[in-house]
């Protein structure tokens, strides 16, 4: 039992030393990803029927790391919807980031 506790303590100490030696770099990376992860990505679109009459307005918000990622995310949503509901036409789309 004593050996097991010692081993566990050793592991924590080793891990701690590893983190300590790379402290600056790791903290910088964490800071950057933290800023990127929290940028809001807002997607709005309308669904029209085949005649061009509006059926629904849809709004969704998430967080994406980049503007490009937000645009790709929004486009993917609309493509997936069109595949499931082909008679609907997507219009008035607006993708807003940051």
């Amino acid at each position: 039992m004593r050996k097991l506790v010692f081993s566990a303590l050793a592991c924590v100490a080793f891990a701690g030393s590893g983190f300590a030696s790379n402290k600056v770099v790791v903290e910088k990376q964490d800071f950057e990803s933290a800023v990127e992860e929290f940028a809001p990505c807002r997607v709005f679109f309308a669904v029209y029927d085949g005649s061009g009459d509006v059926l629904d307005y849809v709004y969704h918000e998430t967080n994406t790391p980049t503007l490009g990622g937000c645009y790709a995310y929004g486009t993917q949503l609309m493509l997936e919807f069109e595949a499931l509901y082909p008679d609907g036409r997507i219009g008035d789309e607006s993708i807003n980031y940051g």
């Binding site: 085949g50 061009g52 059926l55 709004y59 949503l77 509901y85 008679d87 609907g88």
Partner: protein, 253 residues
């Protein structure tokens, strides 16, 4: 000369009515939130009395590409979403998409209650007579010709003593104009309908379709946003070609 002219017109009318198949092309103008046009075809088999109508979404064109000052194409020609109508005396079977699967929507509506006026005009060299009706919440003005004795027209319109050449609702949001009449057998459309019918499509009433279509759209939204967090959906009020149905009118009366 007069004798020859009479003979010529007699020959023309015999050759026209002697044909077995007709294909009538209409141009539809949808003056909706996104104005657009598309073609539709009415097929008639004189021998079997079979009437088929198709709305061809591969021919759809958006008229106004500018939205809020930006050039945007929202309506694009699309394959695989065409609507087919099989018209008989008692019913109209509409083969159309429910989600991404074709279904057979059976409309038991027996046509419109027309009022025929004395007004006439000429359309495509045919003498046309004006008729009006109210159908599912919209007032319609039709011009039909008794010279062509098909008691039908585009979409769900029928019951006039002649072919409908032109029809629009009073706001001119939906306009149908005849483009041409051909005496041909369009095997492509017949085969498309036949292929769909072979699939034993699920049969629905109009009321069931409206409920299930709403569910299909909700399911599509839920599937798309599953695992992606919440979304806000605002439904627009009904503003299509049919505004109110018989079962809804009965409730409001």
């Amino acid at each position: 000369m007069k004798k020859y002219l009479t003979l010529f017109f007699l020959f023309m009318s015999v050759s026209f009515f002697g044909q077995e198949y007709y294909k009538i092309t209409y141009n539809i103008y949808n003056n909706t939130a996104i104005p657009n046009t598309l073609n539709a075809y009415l097929l008639f088999n004189v021998k079997t009395n079979q009437t088929i109508y198709k709305e061809d979404y591969t021919t759809q064109k958006q008229l106004n590409e500018e939205v809020n000052g930006e050039k945007k194409l929202l309506i694009k020609p699309k394959a695989g979403i065409d609507k087919y109508f099989i018209i008989s005396n008692d019913t109209i079977q509409e083969l159309k998409l429910l989600g991404n699967v074709y279904v057979n929507v059976i409309d038991v509506n027996k046509g419109q209650d027309w009022k025929i006026s004395n007004e006439t005009k000429t359309i495509n060299n045919y003498k046309a007579i004006k008729a009006t009706c109210n159908f599912r919440g919209r007032n319609w003005e039709a011009w039909f010709t008794p010279d062509i004795s098909f008691f039908s027209g585009p979409w769900k319109f029928r019951g006039l003593p002649g072919l409908i050449l032109q029809i629009n609702d009073e706001t001119k949001k939906y306009v149908y104009n005849i483009e041409k009449i051909e005496t041909i057998y369009d095997t492509n459309i017949i085969n498309e309908v036949s292929d769909l019918n072979k699939k034993n499509l699920k049969k629905l009433t109009v009321k069931q379709f409206i409920i299930e279509d709403e569910e299909a759209r909700t399911n599509a939204f839920n599937a798309v946003f599953e695992g992606r967090g919440t979304y806000t959906r605002k439904k627009a009020p009904r503003n299509g070609i049919e505004l109110i149905y018989e079962w809804e009118e009965q409730v409001t009366k």
